[in-house]
């Protein structure tokens, strides 16, 4: 248990007034961005990245700790009060959460969400503390072929299994990989697809891609609908978020079950928290059916809200662990954090704990502090956050546009990046418009460089013999699981298609 003294050292360096101030700033900004409709935690991190450049690495990462979880605390607020989840991982908690709010239990719902996020984050961060050394040991077993297998797993899982249309998913994935090819090729030093523009030699910044596709794409998409859609009604919070003893003991098992679903999924590069949140919600629904719970699906069940909320944050916590120990980003948020580490000259992965151990443990300690701060902020200030939902939409989107431009310009001071940003915004708009999923593109950009480097490294070692890619037990295992998942998903798509046809005929 060498982790405990290391973690205590981390607390010692995080618990200074100066650093606490940055946890607080990060938590406030993260929650605020998360509450705003249409913006999730990845946008929070992307937009706030430039602010941290003026800080020293420790303060910067402490602030990120607050932002990272803050976005997740905030995004269920919009779902509960407005029935519009901030990002897709909050959909499952919206089902029962909004029902509770409609029945005058908004304060309880907000408290359940906040405590759920707190418990999920707490459990998964604890797991990271104790299991990251195990992950680090495991990572030393990983060669190029293993990393490539993991990347292929992530590619296919996100583009074919999780996406609505396999063809559009793969198309989006390939676009992402293509974007990641721009810039000087690391191994050979060859200039690729930069068209002689010096700004492109370093490739396209992940911040530009995220902000362009997600933020500007969202603004353009909103512009195409704002005069067509009716506006929805925001429900009152009913004072500060609070929860009674009876409700608490009802929700507690659901929080724990939700965390158990979420924690393993953060380690798998399969695209974020949607799957575990829905698994957690489905489990609560089946349990409620068995117990004949009258609240579920009617007046809103506290358990149906507690479980997915805990699952979402548990996924986020362990995703951070995978990033730190393996250097493998499993979500867009993790990828931006990876970029932030690289900005400070640090490379997440097995060596990070040795080379920058002090910083890593301070970061982990700040995650715990951030969770406590966020719990207080979200319980006591719930009515304040809810006020953000009353910002008129035209101001909201205008503000997002200005912040997007600021974020990108402040990162690079380059006008080329601003044109790229606008171009990617148009691409994001077109993809939303034609139902092409954005998540595979993000994964392509994030893992494309890793997949290429490891593939070429493996083939260079084997002198071009592709059998090296399936020569170890780990790689074979990964591919077998992948084939299994693909088969299940094909059966699922076919079954639903058949049901649809039958219903249509009826």
């Amino acid at each position: 248990m060498e982790q405990i003294p290391l973690l205590l050292d981390g607390f010692a360096s995080a618990l200074t007034p100066y650093n606490l101030l940055f946890v607080l700033i990060g938590a406030v900004l993260g929650t605020a961005v998360g509450v705003l409709p249409g913006l999730g935690s990845s946008m929070a991190v992307a937009l706030l990245l430039p602010i941290t450049f003026a800080l020293d690495p420790t303060a910067a990462f402490i602030m990120f700790a607050g932002v990272y979880f803050g976005g997740l605390f905030g995004d269920s607020t919009a779902g509960i009060l407005l029935n519009t989840p901030g990002q897709s991982s909050a959909i499952a908690s919206t089902f029962e959460g909004h029902r509770m709010a409609r029945n005058g239990r908004a304060a309880v719902a907000l408290a359940t969400a906040a405590i759920g996020a707190f418990i999920g984050g707490l459990i998964s961060t604890t797991i990271v503390v104790f299991f990251s050394p195990v992950l680090v040991t495991m990572a030393t077993e990983f060669g190029p072929a293993e990393y490539f297998a993991l990347a292929v797993f992530a590619f296919l899982a996100i583009s074919s299994v999780v996406s609505e249309s396999v063809l559009r998913g793969i198309g989006a994935l390939l676009l992402g990989v293509a974007l990641a090819l721009v810039g000087i090729d690391g191994p050979s030093g060859t200039e690729r697809y930069s068209f002689g523009i010096p700004n492109l030699f370093d490739g396209i910044d992940i911040v530009v891609v995220t902000v362009g596709l997600l933020a500007l794409g969202e603004v353009l998409h909103a512009a195409s609908r704002i005069h067509r859609d009716p506006s929805s009604i925001t429900l009152p919070t009913g004072g500060i978020a609070r929860i009674g003893k009876q409700d608490f003991s009802k929700a507690l098992p659901a929080w724990l079950r939700g965390s158990a679903f979420g924690a393993p999924f953060g380690m798998i590069p399969a695209g974020g928290a949607e799957v575990p949140t829905f698994l957690a919600y489905g489990t609560e629904k089946r349990l409620a059916d068995r117990r004949q719970d009258p609240e579920f699906g009617k007046s809103g069940s506290i358990k149906g809200l507690a479980a997915p909320e805990a699952a979402a944050n548990a996924t986020a916590g362990t995703a951070l662990g995978t990033l730190l120990a393996l250097g493998l980003p499993t979500s867009a948020t993790a990828a931006i954090l990876l970029a932030a580490f690289q900005q400070y000259g640090m490379q997440p992965g097995p060596l990070l704990f040795q080379r920058s151990g002090e910083l890593v443990w301070t970061l982990l300690a700040s995650l715990f502090i951030g969770l406590v701060v966020l719990l207080l902020l979200n319980m006591l200030l719930a009515p304040v956050w809810a006020r953000l939902l009353f910002i008129p939409q035209h101001y909201l989107y205008a503000g997002i546009t200005v912040l997007a431009m600021l974020g990108v310009y402040a990162t690079s001071s380059s006008y080329v990046d601003l044109y790229l940003l606008v171009g990617l915004g148009v691409l994001g708009f077109l993809m939303r418009r034609f139902g092409m999923p954005l998540a595979p593109l993000m994964i392509g950009v994030i893992l494309g460089p890793l997949a290429e480097t490891e593939l070429r490294r493996a083939l260079a070692v084997s002198e071009g013999d592709p059998s090296i890619l399936v020569s170890s037990p780990i790689t074979i295992g990964v591919y077998i699981v992948l084939v299994g998942i693909v088969v299940v998903s094909v059966v699922q798509h076919l079954r639903h298609a058949r049901e649809d046809r039958r219903q249509q005929a009826a």
Partner: protein, 226 residues
Amino acid sequence: MSTSTPTRASGRGALWRRKELVMAAILLIVGLVLLIGAQTMDVLGDSAPGPQFVPVIVGVALLVVAVILAIEVLRHAEEERVLPDEGRDISRDLLQDLSDTGTAEFRAVGVADLAEDASPAGSTTTAATSDSAAEPAAEETAKKPVASDLRTTGYVLASLVGFVLILPWAGWVLSAAALFWCVARALGSRRTWIDLGVALLLSSFIQLVFGGLLGLSLPVLLGGAL
């Protein structure tokens, strides 16, 4: 725009209903750029596989996907095919199976995203390939091409490009305020002077915090010559 369909009052043509070809074209162009670039690349070093290896694979795959997508779009015009929910990346089939929920559950969430007011074009209900009878007709029309308000989108896009063009010489405070004002106006704000005040306040505040406190350099008016 050759033929108009009897089902639509707006009389959109056959090509118009196949606008998704734009997406196939993007995939095709990116694929071609990758392949041509791989051929003309000025390769340094003699590593094998070299820097062209992956671009060629991705390029060929892009061409294949583009062709299949184009065929699919040509065979099924937009009205005959249920588009996945816009902006929602995750397979609804998967999520329904995981959570044991019905389609109606998903309909209930995100009313603002999906619902559509009864615009003239929206009132025509085509033979929907809907998977549940409970699906409101309004939601079906939200997926229709006519739902996009391209004028507003174009105005916002023009504001974005305009901002990037004037930023180098107008400086951050003025260009950011102009951007904010234009976007807010395009999205339906009608309070001209209040908007202007809010815009200038926001851009100046950012200039103060970022330029003053955090020491990031933002462009100033005429490069600071004044």
